[in-house]
Symmetry: C2
Amino acid sequence: MHFKIGSQLFADALKKVEKVVNSKHNIPILQGIFLKVTEQEIICIGSDSTESFRYHIPVGEHVHVITPGTTVLPKQIIDITKKLKKDLELQLRDCNLTIKYGKKSEFNLNTFDPEEYPRLPKFDIDSPTLTLKGTDFNSLVKKTAFAASDSEIRPLLQGVHLITENNCMKWVCTDSHRLSQVTTKIDHNNPIKLVIPAKSLDRLVKTFNLQEDVRVYCESDNQVIFKNGNLFFYSRLLEGNYPDTSRLIPNDFKAEMKINRKELLEGLDRISGLANGVDGGSGVVKLHVNGVATITTHQSQIGKGIEAIEYEELTGEDDFTISFAANYMIDALKAIDDDVVNFKYQGNARPFLITPTSSEFEETQLILPVRTM
Amino acid sequence: MHFKIGSQLFADALKKVEKVVNSKHNIPILQGIFLKVTEQEIICIGSDSTESFRYHIPVGEHVHVITPGTTVLPKQIIDITKKLKKDLELQLRDCNLTIKYGKKSEFNLNTFDPEEYPRLPKFDIDSPTLTLKGTDFNSLVKKTAFAASDSEIRPLLQGVHLITENNCMKWVCTDSHRLSQVTTKIDHNNPIKLVIPAKSLDRLVKTFNLQEDVRVYCESDNQVIFKNGNLFFYSRLLEGNYPDTSRLIPNDFKAEMKINRKELLEGLDRISGLANGVDGGSGVVKLHVNGVATITTHQSQIGKGIEAIEYEELTGEDDFTISFAANYMIDALKAIDDDVVNFKYQGNARPFLITPTSSEFEETQLILPVRTM
């Protein structure tokens, strides 16, 4: 293996794939970066065995391949490359990679045997199961993944449930206290059901170029592959039967209130600091609707807070009270893009909904209330 | 107590004094912010009992006092004030402070008894022991405080030793492996000797407005007070006899090398990632001077690195080798502002010096070498 590459280009590629590399992984070779050099391109792979990134750098102006080859580099390559500023020359001899940088610097790194690096699953690149616009992918993740559970107790609830059937795609996510669901039409009729780790999706939104399409490949039961430009991401799927959420979203409501999303969010944000209180504060606030929407919290140790927000329209019951975790409501309101939201009330012991009044997607944020005295 | 204040102004004042407030302090009242309102000004104090900030807001356009008074507010006041955007009205009734914000928000906070808040020591504001330009104060701290120890074993070494005598001020700091010393002339003849916690100085550099003077008051043996505009900082001093460092800095050298600071720093920076290696890497590099200055590291597990830097001038011995911790050298080079530094060599088992070739201050960075095989 022998090639020349612009340091910035190489550093950017390594930065993309290193996101999943754990420098303390108990399989030493996974602490490194896999590198495959061909006549056409340089392929970099980083993996922690459950998530892997693969990035392709095509041969071009700042990428010149002299001899193809394959190796696995120690993670120090990332740090060294970041700090170099011009063209690099990399050459592998036996198990030793030499990096030359002008006349000033020369590094020799011990490499790992590439034969020992786990193989990524093969798939048919020309047959994606789904193709989404980058911006839509971003919206779908941001509107659902936050509702996933952090807890290891029910691992399935750490995922987002993606279902397609009858030209319809549904993303659902719940931690059992709240639920987010977005539905959109697609040109696609193969029914699929996947549970994708929410953390993987969050990572992709931060890493992908959202101006480009996101292709999704679901060729196996335990793996999903995403492609965005020259970057590929492989994630294991969460296995098991995701809870049936299809009957959880009610249709009948005792009251519906249209309210300004930003005003409600700002009021909740101010009061939540007090509601979270000292250690062990519950973060619970009370909403009382009666001519105006009043949010209150009372923490005996610290004090109390009142926020009054004028709603735009109210139908049904005109005097009711419901308590809930302020942070759940804040998350739900942040996920919605619309200026005005619908607050749909079923009774103070039953889940309530927040929905946009107009949206590209069919979107529902459901929150369970908290019983208070 | 009853006053009106612009929320931004109040939030900025609280932000300054909260830096030392520990929300888990075992003395509950120190978890709060002391507030004293007079006809002329509003005084805010935050303290963790060893460090305290006091900030004065003069009455003016956005500060209107209706009734003076004194209280201690819970720390939630900070969070609430940050999130409010216009004028606030604050009123104390019994032990309860009401914060009104337009028609929308009202907070009631339980307060602490201000009689229980520790008193700050009195001092004569018109008689500072020292007055420094803000930019000089910044330089003196940045050139010395980094060399302090983190270890609790010798608490005195967590401080910077400040000595004035014979119209000369000296700042010295050592962790016993390296030493930084800066000397400058002053118009002042009272001899003082203080050991100020390096962390307090770092905090001040980040908090003070360095365009304004810094006044230093040393009226007691265990306390130092700094004043910068309307902001006061009180710090305990470290007690005990700071090691005598006056004879540690040598005058005779076997070799002196003038070398470009930035090139040396960049070379060390690139190689240090490798030198720090995997867990337990020593961070030690070797400097070999022989026609060119070559820095090398060899980590058997990962590989090796070489950086060659051309020096500008060399006098004395022209072939020598010395090993040292790369990070100590990086810290020392970052502290110096000059483009070219002097590397002063006494032998490979003796401390070496880094000094600027031209500087406003008389400045020395001393580093102990590491013995290697």
